[in-house]
């Protein structure tokens, strides 16, 4: 026997020490969010690399295209705006897009290393566990988006102060939508290695076929069908929701699309993670499980 083993204290048998009521739900939700934030702060390079990508777009790409891609007046802008000003909302939501996919990737990783099993054996319903994961991801993505806006502020964006406040619910809604899409993807991706295809088939098409980098009327001038694809892309609506909110305006259609997409994808993710009906049950369980 090891010397490190202390004499076993004789305890009275304990009964279940947790709570299965609404307070227990909140404790569980808070615990999952706290763990995700701890993991995030342990990976500081992840925070900075998430900021580098949009800043490169802003400082190099947008500056280079400044003279070739002028953007004429269209809502929510009151005047002619520089290209850098136009792309800022799209780049902020791009951070959230990458964050949503990063959360999804970490779900796949959790499944491979087994910590997903610990989460799923919690006595609380699956939807609550997935919602907690989603809220944690959104919290991180909103912090990242505002860190980007803080740096971009030095670029003379002319965003009114109220816009930064009004954009908060828009960022939360956009984060929830992109996180929900990521959750569903995480249930479909069997192995971590397959994640490169998610980059190719999800992130890039969503980002480029949207109003993030160019106004949709410009796309319509060149191709009506491409315009329709952009309009069907929920990422376009997330960008528009944030863009309008940053200038103190509300975009009802964009808001409805974002909330509707969130609800649809989150529901599908809950079904996918259901032990009875989900994709996991049909395809033989989490990757790497021995029989």
């Amino acid at each position: 026997m090891s010397k490190t083993l202390a004499p076993a204290p004789v305890d009275k048998p304990v009964t279940h020490l947790g709570r299965l009521d609404a307070v227990g739900y909140l404790i569980c939700l808070g615990g999952i969010v706290r763990r995700e934030l701890l993991r995030f702060f342990n990976q500081k390079e992840r925070f900075f690399s998430a900021l580098v990508r949009p800043l490169v777009w802003l400082f190099i790409f947008a500056a280079g295209f400044r003279n070739t891609l002028g953007v004429s007046i269209e809502p929510p802008y009151q005047t002619y705006v520089l290209y850098e000003v136009y792309v800022v909302p799209g780049l902020a939501v791009m951070i959230q897009l990458f964050n949503g996919m990063q959360s999804s990737l970490s779900m796949v990783y959790d499944r491979e290393v087994g910590s997903m099993k610990v989460l799923l054996t919690s006595p609380y319903p699956r939807w609550l566990l997935l919602l907690a994961k989603l809220i944690a991801g959104v919290t991180v993505s909103v912090v990242q988006a505002y860190a980007f806006l803080a740096i971009a502020w030095f670029w003379e964006l002319d965003i009114p102060t109220i816009g930064y406040v009004a954009a908060l619910p828009a960022f939360i809604a956009a984060g929830l939508m992109l996180g929900s899409i990521g959750l569903l993807l995480s249930s479909m991706v069997k192995q971590l290695e397959n994640f490169a295809s998610v980059m190719n088939f999800v992130i890039f098409p969503m980002f480029f076929a949207s109003s993030a980098l160019y106004p949709l009327w410009r796309i319509r001038e060149s191709s009506e069908s491409l315009y329709l694809i952009c309009m069907a892309n929920p990422f376009t609506h997330a960008v528009q929701l944030v863009r309008f909110a940053l200038y103190g305006q509300f975009a009802p259609v964009a808001c409805a699309v974002v909330l509707g997409t969130t609800l649809a994808f989150f529901t599908l993710a809950v079904v996918a993670y259901d032990p009875g009906r989900g994709i996991m049950a049909r395809r033989g369980g989490p990757a790497g499980d021995p029989a």
Partner: protein
């Protein structure tokens, strides 16, 4: 299910596509006893654990934990269950305490109650001094002891351990076995211990032999060994024969 049963698995079958991983498996764990689940690799032990822990839906048959049917009362059933999985499932970037607090919150425990319980359990597994160390600095045996402490945080009455000593040295293995046997003896915990290491099983332990997804023997380890041969020899004979349902 009787009052004295901690776990009842009745006629459980599980298929992955056309492959049957479990076929009409029935077994029970008596309250306050150490029950060994023996089986070679691929016998279906991990699949059975996944069904009991509700990672996989129960396709056919019934599972009850301390009188709570898993399909009708999943929350109550899972609340009374502690699990140590075969794979290491601690977050290596977090400290021991952070891992344990996280698990306590997954069971709805207040922070104060969790901290008290962590103190007690880390003392029991002999690792109180490693409370604030990151898990990546622990040895394999120490990580396993932390996982046992974690599985007990919420006060379960049934503990499932899926080959918990695989990959550990002899001393660490002995520590893990001693801790779990003490829990059975002193706290009346019910334990289902999956293994293929025969030294971990005592003659008086209840034992179930699983092979190719079927129960091929059950009884005490001594009765399975049939008095004359060793448990290991009996096991080898059982898994060498065509799988058949135990009477």
């Amino acid at each position: 299910m009787t009052e004295s049963t901690a776990l009842e698995v009745a006629n459980v079958s599980h298929r992955f596509g056309s492959r049957a991983a479990l076929s009409d498996v029935s077994l029970s764990v008596v309250r306050g006893r150490f029950t060994a689940l023996l089986g070679p690799n691929g016998a279906g032990k991990t699949t059975l654990f996944s069904v009991i822990t509700r990672l996989y839906a129960n396709q056919d048959g019934r599972v009850s934990i301390l009188g709570h049917a898993l399909d009708r009362e999943p929350s109550r059933a899972l609340a009374r269950l502690g699990v140590v999985f075969q794979a290491r499932t601690l977050d290596t970037d977090l400290t021991v305490a952070q891992n344990l607090l996280y698990h306590a919150s997954l069971h709805g425990m207040t922070r104060r109650a969790a901290k008290e319980r962590i103190q007690t359990l880390l003392t029991r597994v002999g690792l109180l001094d490693r409370r604030d160390d990151k898990v990546r600095t622990l040895s394999g045996g120490q990580s396993r002891r932390i996982e046992i402490a974690r599985s007990l945080i919420h006060g379960p009455r049934l503990l499932l351990l899926d080959e918990p000593t695989v990959g550990l040295d002899l001393e660490s293995r002995a520590d893990i076995v001693a801790i779990v046997r003490a829990l059975v003896r002193e706290e009346g915990l019910s334990v289902l211990w999956a293994t293929h290491i025969f030294e971990e099983i005592e003659a008086g332990d209840a034992a179930i032999v699983l092979h190719k997804g079927r129960v091929v023997a059950r009884g005490t380890a001594g009765s399975i060994a049939q008095g004359t041969e060793s448990l290991e020899a009996a096991f080898r004979r059982l898994v060498a024969e065509p799988a058949k349902q135990a009477a």
